[in-house]
């Protein structure tokens, strides 16, 4: 079922499901299966990359882990305790442990608060007194590479990269163990993106943080992740250690995704696998394997049975009936 990565995983997600009911005026329609049973583990100090195209459920997965979206079913074991079904009051202590950084720091920072107040807010919520809080905020600013004169500024006075540093400082405020990074560098220019990625790596090394890194940029994911999960239509189709997954992708979708990335070095370009068409609707997923409608290797069996995640080598799992033969 789940892969044992570290002696005791910090996070153990089991069959997490998020269905959105859809109802038209005259009849009930099938629910949108945004997450259709995903399972994975994450160790302390580990980074799991979640990749896939728009609508694959990667952001839903990220937000459901923090219960910013309530799961429909499944378990989220954090340090051994199931946090998926806790009451809001019982879940509150875990909010300190689980934090999130969003893609667009401008939309996720209160424009009416000064930068210092934004970072102090979680501290105040969890009962820090203001003198200790002030020192903590100053330390956090230094930690993420912001000057102390930035404390008094408003979000609009920062550049995109600085705003993302501010979002990271806020996420760090309560000493979390896990940070969900939802497309944290997608809106940044390349030169600034490198600064933020390096900062995230430094913080992980120093503080032993675990990251769930949601992104569509496969090069960034390869750079920062220890393990990677590839999602398609609300399911994980392949998961494994980063080098194994990138050098020996087993699922036809992973292979197509990797081949589609434009490469600078002519030597790195392989034959491009062009997928036909678009992502099917998650309200009406195809029968059997949901990728079969776009899969260059689909066979009649694929429409009949849904493949399960099966181990192929060391900690590498793939859900495809023909993963061995199609390589």
């Amino acid at each position: 079922m789940s892969v044992v990565a570290f002696p005791r995983p910090l996070l153990d997600v089991r069959d997490l499901v998020k269905h959105y009911p859809t109802r038209t005026f005259w009849r009930d329609s099938p629910p949108v299966k945004a997450l259709d049973g995903i399972s994975f583990t994450l160790g302390a100090g580990e980074t799991l990359g979640l990749v896939g195209e728009s609508g694959c459920g990667k952001s839903t997965a990220a937000k459901t882990l923090l219960r910013l979206i309530e799961p429909t079913a499944g378990q989220i074991l954090f340090d051994g305790a199931d946090i998926a079904t806790l009451s809001p009051a019982a879940f509150r202590p875990y909010r300190r442990e689980l934090q999130i950084v969003f893609q667009d720091p401008y939309a996720s920072l209160n424009p009416r608060l000064r930068a210092g107040e934004i970072v102090a807010e979680p501290l105040r919520n969890f009962g820090w007194d203001s003198r200790d809080g002030e020192q903590r905020v100053a330390d956090l600013f230094a930690r993420v590479g912001l000057n102390t004169d930035a404390l008094k500024k408003y979000p609009h006075e920062f550049s995109g990269g600085q705003r993302q540093r501010l979002g990271i400082a806020r996420a760090l405020a309560l000493n979390p163990r896990l940070i969900v990074l939802d497309e944290p560098v997608s809106a940044l220019d390349v030169s600034i993106q490198a600064q933020v990625i390096n900062l995230l790596e430094d913080l992980q090394a120093d503080l032993g943080l675990s990251y769930i890194f949601v992104a569509h940029d496969l090069a960034v994911v390869r750079h920062i992740s220890h393990r990677v999960a590839v999602m398609y239509l609300g399911r994980i189709v392949e998961i494994g250690p980063v080098d194994s997954l990138f050098t020996r992708p087993l699922h036809p979708y992973t292979r197509a995704l990797l081949s589609a990335v434009p490469k600078i070095s002519p030597a790195a370009r392989q034959n491009r696998i062009l997928l036909k068409g678009d992502l099917p609707s998650p309200a009406h997923p195809p029968s059997g394997c949901t990728f079969r409608t776009r899969c260059p290797q689909a066979r009649p069996e694929c429409a009949e049975r849904a493949p399960q995640l099966v181990a192929h080598g060391n900690r590498h799992q793939v859900s495809c009936h023909f993963a061995e033969t199609s390589a």
Binding site: E53, S54, S159, G160, G161, D189, V190, S191, I192, Q193, A194, Q195, I197, N198, E201, H216, L218, A219, V220, R222, H223, I224, S225, V242, D243, F246, T247, A256, L257, L258, S259, A260, V261, P262, K263, I264, S265, P266, A268, R269, R272, L274, L275, G277, D278
Partner: protein, 337 residues
Amino acid sequence: MSAPILEIDDLRIAFASPDGIVRAVDGVSWQLNAGEMLGIVGESGCGKSVTAMSILRLLPGPPAMFASGAIRFRGEDLLTASEARMRALRGNAISMIFQDPMTSLNPVLTIGEQIAEVLILHQKLSKRAAWTRAGEMLDLVGIPDPVRRLADYPHQFSGGMRQRAMIALALACNPAVLIADEPTTALDVTIQAQIMELLARLRREMGTAIVLITHDLGVVAECCDRVVVMYAGTKVEEARVDALFARPSHPYTRGLLAAMPELDTPGDARHRRLAEIPGMVPSLKQAAVGCRFAPRCALADERCRQTIPALAPTSGEHADHFAACFRAHEPLPGTAA
């Protein structure tokens, strides 16, 4: 080589803002040859999109904006052309596609009506002939069941299909030049691959010259013939694509390449620390004194801060490779030369 089909000559574009003049484009020149794909790359605010918009004169006029220099299409200066002349060229001889097809297609007209409109206007086709031709265009860009889809509205198309419809619309009159401003930035990578393949095929089949504006160096490396690198409103490097990526010269270009994580580095790729370009893009409100990149450049010396470097060939044997840097040949500290 024959005369370029499109020529940008010392283009300067400035915007009036409440706290001063912003020099968005500060003396940029380049040429586009017939049938060529030219990449214009750079980060946010480097002036690449403003350059693109200025070609079709889609920017506001004075007093909000001032332009000088020349934009010559087949020798005719577009900056001084009449508005009637521009209307005749737009969507006909020169077309443009944008990053977000949802905001550049008209939501209350069907796809077919929008494509037929340009054909009726520019090619003087009858309604019936325009509709037939619109169906052929949708077929050409690979939309299944094209004749039926003509009656659809933009919101009934997926993102990738909308971009295909935009391309069909832009190419309906068989333009000599297509300006593509970040055409795949909003799309997923598998859809991006489809669209870039489509642009490459249409260029082969129709001979359209394409200006591709993008921040994605990978897309440029795969699709373009030549590339112009912009920084803070200026052109800092220009070369054939293979030369640029084999021998990047300007410290900014080298910095950008070193800052990019690579997909295909074998082994311990993830343990390489990314090279950072310190600081950020300068304000364009002051006139440049020295090199615009000097405050962020590891090689910058006193001369760089005092004198604006001119574009110069990087070496004798590569006469079509230029960089605007006094120290383009020197290795950057901390990176492989």
